[in-house]
């Protein structure tokens, strides 16, 4: 049984009512419910008396350090088998960290702890880390975003460190610690940490020594082509079983695509890649496409939004779509593909081998003239369930053609995204009518 509540004011009678249901819940979510430390007393006894409780979400409530103290009383009982705990933005300080450390050291059932967006500070997190080092601690995911950390953190962490000013020195030390530690690191998120290519050799070492590492995010760091080349050494290592790779806004150019192509066509474990906002250009994209035609390329999601692409690379992309059955999500928005480019893409989309179910073409310089082709894809390609055409000047004429396609029962779309497109009242009326004719199709604007 699950309790899932967000943004609800709790008066005493409602709270009492919920408490009785909570006694038998396996997951409880009470985000944004204006809870305070006094509610934590009740929650503590729920945790104490409900051995089937696995997940507890209390984000965005002013629980404070006092509240955590109460909660932890319940969390420390031997019968507690809580696995996941969310306490984001709960007004916690470093004072909570000692309490949380004691939980980490005593509760092997806890595998996820989310304490981002609290002013824990470096000292507090160091205390938390002591809990992590305890042999009883089996934590796999620790989320610390927006906790006001500084470069002082040096201990080995299995953590989400994004959006903290760590810099190369700290990250290098972190990586060396990670390589030595026996932890089975699954996830390493170092986005916007102020790192450069200087850290990449050390991150590469983590990649080649941790087959448990499935998820690497170094987006929003200026690592450049030099850094990427170093990362690829680790990525190509046989020990590396990486599945998810986020390299958005990393200052990469087409020069990176040679190494990336080798990763795409050899790393069968790789499922999801983000290269958003890197100047890959048509030449770079063509190299990646060549690799995606390799039978060993099992990539399912590729995001190349805002990569400086034009209609010139669409032929290569289209030929991937006609042979590659693995690719399911393609985000190629914010590139000047134009009607010509999109028409070529649609040819590939219509190929029976193509299994794309989610396609993002926002701000691609598409106009009404292309909508007939897009409408045809919508009613022909039964597995296409999500299409984004936001921010294109489709005009009333174009949008009405899309609406006509939605009306067709052969159209199996679940979500059609049309943000920032100007249309007149006639289209407004048609969209309203579609809400009733096809309630299964969500049209978002």
């Amino acid at each position: 049984m699950d309790l899932d509540i967000q943004c609800e004011e709790m008066n005493p009678s409602r709270w009492a009512e919920l408490l009785s249901t909570m006694k038998s819940c396996s997951t409880i979510r009470l985000d944004d419910c204006n809870l305070s430390s006094s509610n934590c007393k009740d929650l503590s006894s729920i945790i104490h008396t409900n051995p089937s409780l696995k997940e507890l979400k209390l984000n965005n409530n002013e629980l404070g350090d006092a509240g955590i103290e109460y909660l932890c009383k319940g969390l420390l009982t031997p019968s507690c088998s809580l696995q996941k705990l969310w306490l984001q933005n709960c007004n916690l300080t470093s004072a909570s960290c000692e309490t949380l450390r004691s939980v980490l050291s005593a509760q092997p059932s806890l595998t996820e702890l989310h304490v981002g967006d609290n002013k824990l500070g470096t000292t507090g997190v160091k205390v938390l880390c002591q809990g992590l080092m305890n042999p009883n601690c089996k934590l796999q995911k620790l989320q610390l975003e927006y906790c006001e950390l500084t470069a002082d953190i040096v201990e080995a962490l299995n953590a989400a460190l994004s959006n903290n000013t760590l810099g190369d020195t700290a990250v290098k030390q972190l990586c060396r610690g990670l390589v030595e530690a026996s932890c089975d690191l699954e996830l390493l998120h170092l986005e916007n940490c102020g790192i450069t290519s200087d850290s990449c050799r050390d991150i590469s070492a983590v990649l080649s020594s941790k087959p448990s590492l499935l998820d690497l995010a170094v987006g929003d760091n200026k690592i450049g082509d030099t850094g990427l080349a170093l990362l690829c050494q680790g990525l190509l290592h046989p020990n590396c079983k990486i599945q998810k790779l986020w390299l958005w806004d990393c200052d990469l150019t087409s020069a990176s695509c040679k190494d990336l192509s080798r990763v795409f066509s050899t790393k069968e474990t790789l499922l999801e890649v983000s290269l958003i906002d890197n100047n890959l250009r048509d030449s770079g994209m063509e190299m990646l496409c060549q690799a995606l035609k390799d039978p060993k390329a099992h990539l399912q999601e590729l995001w190349v939004r805002e990569c400086g692409l034009t209609a010139a690379c669409c032929k290569a992309v289209s030929s991937v779509l006609s042979v590659n059955k693995h690719l399911q999500v393609l985000h190629i928005g914010e590139n000047k593909l134009g009607n010509a480019g999109v028409e070529i893409l649609c040819e590939g989309l219509l190929h029976p081998n193509c299994n794309i179910h989610s396609l993002w073409l926002g701000n691609c310089d598409i106009t009404a003239a292309c909508c007939a082709t897009l409408a045809n894809v919508m009613v022909t390609k039964q597995n296409l369930t999500e299409l984004d055409l936001s921010y294109n000047t489709l005009e009333d004429e174009g949008v009405m053609k899309l609406c006509e396609a939605v009306r067709n029962p052969n159209c199996k779309m679940q979500q059609l995204i049309l943000y920032d497109i100007f249309w007149g009242p006639e289209v407004d009326d048609e969209l309203k009518a579609l809400e009733e004719a096809r309630p299964d199709v969500k049209i978002i604007s």
Binding site: A217, W248, S274, I276, W303, E334, S390, Y419, F422
Partner: protein, 144 residues
Amino acid sequence: MTMSPCPLLLVFVLGLVVIPPTLAQNEGYEKFLRQHYDAKPKGRDDRYCESMMKERKLTSPCKDVNTFIHGTKKNIRAICGKKGSPYGENFRISNSPFQITTCTHSGASPRPPCGYRAFKDFRYIVIACEDGWPVHFDESFISP
């Protein structure tokens, strides 16, 4: 003396005729306000964008660009009238600049949690009006 009731009756009937179109327009205006109106912004930084975009229900999926206007409803609406001029085929441009914050989607996934970067500006804005009410903000117009 017997004349006075008639003008009153006339006004009442006119009132009945005028109301329905404005009611229909309000849906577009309400949407415009939800997406683009924030008179009293706090911070106008990346975190402001992240919380506003979420609060105004523009994160399922993450809307790539969205501008919040920090002016009064009165002044914004006036762009449809005295405080604006025609722009292109369907739009109107404000006669005076407005304080705005444009939120641009940063990050990888188009799904929440959505990361945003804030860009503060003070510039002329372009909107579309219907029957005197703002109903659309032109994100592509950025004045020099």
